[in-house]
């Protein structure tokens, strides 16, 4: 057990507010595209810089706190809006803010090439969603977390309906129904119950639930797990495939990184800092929850096999891969939790690469369906090269990021004596291969019908997707670095 070192700083608040300010900036510069995008990039850089400035403290094992508003102790004791940064939140925030920089670059190429409408609104909502994502990462208690969680839902709704077609609106309605519905019907009551039962909502390393009856522990845990629908667990996963009508950069950063990771991050946070890993193991609920997550791991992979629309296949792959995070943390063993948190980073880099590639293919050759992508390996070598890296990482080919995760998850499952989970992990790896390898086969080995009309995506997009592909390799090679930060948590 490490000694608890805390330090008060306003940096976390600034890091969150940067993108909120940027949203206003983008709004005022809405008619000057270059300035507007400049504002986005600047905000992304500043945000990443602020997050990284916390690195020395995190490395030395500090927790950074930033109280904002504490409610009157007479009526609402122990309730506040407050921020707190530990290694877990730092990793998520670091990844999200870093990838925001690349996504903004990529968006410029994507949105301008396709001459999309309402670009100012698009960038404003993007900035707001990032505000929410960082807020979730830096929340010090469930109340604050819920606040940012809902902010993400509302701001991303406008991105899902961006095209303003009937299809987009019905997808948007589904999106809100699932995310807000579960949030209000399960997540909010779980928070209320937690406060009513324990008198606090603060994240504490030993959890806050000690002494509460098993009935309430079980009930709130179930409410939390189904209530955080952003994690994409079945049966509340359907919003994610519908959200794919959004422009591809949205699918890339938000529906592979910021939004969905906010979901799984919330579940990890709750398991580790609301219940406490040790406390939950004494309850014996972990195994059941891990099995519950396994259903999604396997189920979503099987559905992914049947998708011909590339973005849909990636979406189902995301659902499946997200559940590794939930599965890992529910193993309640050190390696399981480590693997789970590492997956938040690893999957972010891998999947954003894949989505970037899907968008680049759409911009380059206007194709959405895998069956139409014959031979693009030759005409779009950079894009497909990055795609290959991303796909191999998802499958878990060493030394890429996905392998580092699966290795730890397997170790964790062994530590927890969950042989069934070991089987699930191995089986899902086969499924991953089964739905990714055919894409590569089509791209590289099939003959293209009209190679003459196919060309690479704009340079700015290629820069982004190759950077994330390199990132995927680096995360895999230096996975120990990320894990070493987590020593205070798992």
């Amino acid at each position: 057990m490490m000694t608890l070192k805390t330090i008060v700083s306003i940096v976390p608040l600034l890091a969150i507010l940067v993108s909120l300010l940027a949203a206003f900036g983008i709004f005022f510069l809405r008619n000057l595209p270059n300035w507007r995008e400049g504002c986005s990039i600047l905000a992304a850089l500043v945000k990443f810089g602020l997050v990284m400035s916390l690195y020395p403290l995190i490395r030395d094992g500090y927790t950074i706190e930033c109280p904002i508003v504490a409610f009157p102790a007479g009526i609402l004791p122990n309730l506040s809006f407050a921020l707190r940064v530990d290694a877990l939140g730092f990793l998520f925030a670091g990844v999200a803010s870093f990838l925001w920089i690349l996504t903004t670059l990529y968006s410029i190429g994507y949105m301008r090439t396709l001459k999309e409408h309402a670009q100012a609104r698009y960038y404003v909502c993007f900035a707001l969603a990032l505000t929410g994502a960082l807020g979730v990462a830096f929340s010090a208690n469930l109340l604050t977390l819920f606040l940012f969680y809902e902010l993400i839902t509302v701001s991303t709704y406008l991105l899902v309906v961006h095209e303003e077609t009937t299809e987009a609106y019905s997808a948007g309605t589904k999106y809100l129904t699932y995310l807000m519905g579960t949030g209000k019907l399960f997540f909010l009551p779980a928070i209320i119950f937690t406060y009513g039962l324990t008198g606090t909502l603060d994240f504490k390393s030993a959890g806050i639930f000690s002494g509460v009856s098993p009935f309430w522990v079980g009930l709130t845990l179930i409410l939390f797990v189904v209530g955080v629908a952003k994690a994409g667990l079945m049966p509340f996963h359907n919003w994610l495939p519908s959200a794919m009508v959004a422009p591809t950069p949205v699918s890339a950063l938000l529906h592979a990184v910021a939004v969905v990771k906010a979901g799984v991050f919330t579940i990890v946070r709750i398991v580790v800092h609301i219940y406490g890993v040790d406390f939950l193991s004494t309850m014996g609920l972990g195994a059941w929850m891990a099995l519950f997550a396994s259903i999604t791991v396997v189920g979503a992979s099987i559905i992914a096999l049947r998708q011909d629309n590339l973005k849909m296949r990636l979406a189902y792959s995301t659902i499946s891969q997200l559940s590794y995070v939930v599965l890992g943390v529910m193993l309640l063993s050190p390696d399981g939790v480590r693997g789970s948190i590492l997956q938040i980073v690893a999957h972010a880099f891998g999947k954003i690469t894949l989505f970037f590639c899907a968008g680049a293919i759409y911009v380059g050759i206007h194709k959405k369906y895998i069956s139409e992508m014959a031979g693009i390996g030759k005409t779009m070598p950079w894009t497909m090269g990055a795609f290959t890296v991303g796909a191999f990482s998802m499958i878990g080919v060493p030394p890429l990021a996905g392998f580092a995760v699966k290795w730890r998850l397997l170790l964790g499952a062994m530590e927890a004596h969950q042989i069934l989970i070991v089987g699930v992990l191995l089986g899902s790896t086969l499924l991953n291969a089964a739905y990714f390898l055919p894409i590569l086969k089509t791209a590289y080995f099939d003959e293209s019908a009209d190679a003459a009309h196919q060309h690479e995506a704009p340079l700015i997009m290629r820069v982004a997707l190759i950077s994330t592909a390199i990132g995927t390799c680096l995360v895999g090679l230096y996975s120990d670095f990320f894990v070493s930060l987590l020593k205070g948590i798992a």
Binding site: F71, P72, I75, L76, L147, M180, K184, F193, Y195, G196
Partner: protein, 515 residues
Amino acid sequence: MFPILSAVILIPLIGALTLLFVPKKSENLIRGITLLTAIIDFAVSLPLYCDFKEGTAAMQFAERIPWIPSWGAEYSLGLDGISLFMVLLTTFSCVVVYLATWTAVEKHVKEFNIALLVLQAAMVGVFCALDFVLFYVFWELMLIPMYLLIGIWGGQRRIYATVKFFIYTMGGSVLMLFAILVLYFQYHAATGIYTFDILKYHSFAMDKTLQFWLFLCFFIAFAIKVPIWPFHTWLPDAHVEAPTAGSVILAGILLKMGTYGFLRFSLPIFPDASVSAAWWVSAVAIIGIIFGAFMALAQDDMKKLVAYSSVSHLGFVVLGTFAFTLRGISGGIMQMINHGISTGALFLIVGILYERRHTRLIAEYGGIAKVMPKFAFIFIIVALSSMGMPLTNGFIGEVMILIGVFEANSVYAALAVVGVLLGAAYMLWLFRRVMFGDLTNEKNKTLPDLSARELTYMAPLIVMIFLLGVYPNPVIRKMDATVANLVATMEKAKVARLAHPAALAANLDMDKKRD
């Protein structure tokens, strides 16, 4: 000491008197005087907040002048942590309403403004009065201008709506008057003193059966006012027919008188009856929450939708109040304030659209966000506040109530959450149908965006929405002691009720031994 409460009541009356001497033709002067009066009144009421002492449940700014000594009636005013915010909400809303109604009414402008000012004085009076007679005078006085507002300046079916409104509220009032008189004579019988001092009745121990019947009389009177299901049917009619100003005042302030009545009369005067009635009151409140929300989902008229959302929201307030917990009751008060701001703002928003298109049918709109972007921005903030989105006032109130109710009964809390969900559903669906989609209706293509005046009166509401959502402490702190005192009263009653069967059993034992 300066009689600040009297001043807050008198200023609107003085304004109304001044208007009598202004020629009918100079309409803008009339509107200007009305607005100025409201601004002065609001400014005068601000020291109430600043000078209000925290940490005591006693009445502050008290004024007492003997009025009808032979009856024991006094001109007695005072504020505690509950009524303070109701008075401030009233003076604040009136400024906004008068500014909002500038162009909405074109006939009988003078009479309209006089009615509004008299109404304002009566509303403040209701919240300050600490004497039953005085309270009842203000309570009835309030009905007359409201009756005129709907009956003269209302929509097509205004007469039907007015009569219904009047019959319902008068019915309640009569029951309340009856109960007040019974209380009055009972108190005399017990102590030999004739008094209408409300606070004296807070410590008046009564027979349980009598308590129950009197509680029921008061309950029905207030339930109609709130309105609690199944006494709500006058509300949608009144709202739909009332002019915007009438709707905002009705939703923002008048409905609060019912829930205020529970806190000022029902709970402290009849604690035992309240405790034993809690289960069915809560049940009725939950039915109201869910029923109101479903009805809101089914409406095709915007004003009716907002009216039914009020039924649902006030169900939360009643549920929180009858949880008898610190957080439940203070959450209820918080939600009364929030509802005043958010629903008031929603009616203003409907009014803005109505002034432009003269229709409230949702189907007539669609795609408005494209022609009125500023309006869209304001509307979404208000809609999010109404559905309890975090960072807005609605969230704080809702969370406090849910926590308070959970502490009393977890099943009620779980059921109430359904209302929270439906609240989001009807609000977002309304917004989606009115603001998004294609601009299909030709008439909507030329709608002007918000004017400077419209932005001016929406701005303070938006500020309050975020202020109370992020930093509700200044409000919560002021009500703390008053609510704590009320909760202590209710705790005593709960203990007494729990002790009751035991006492009964003990008596039986005694009887057996005697045999």
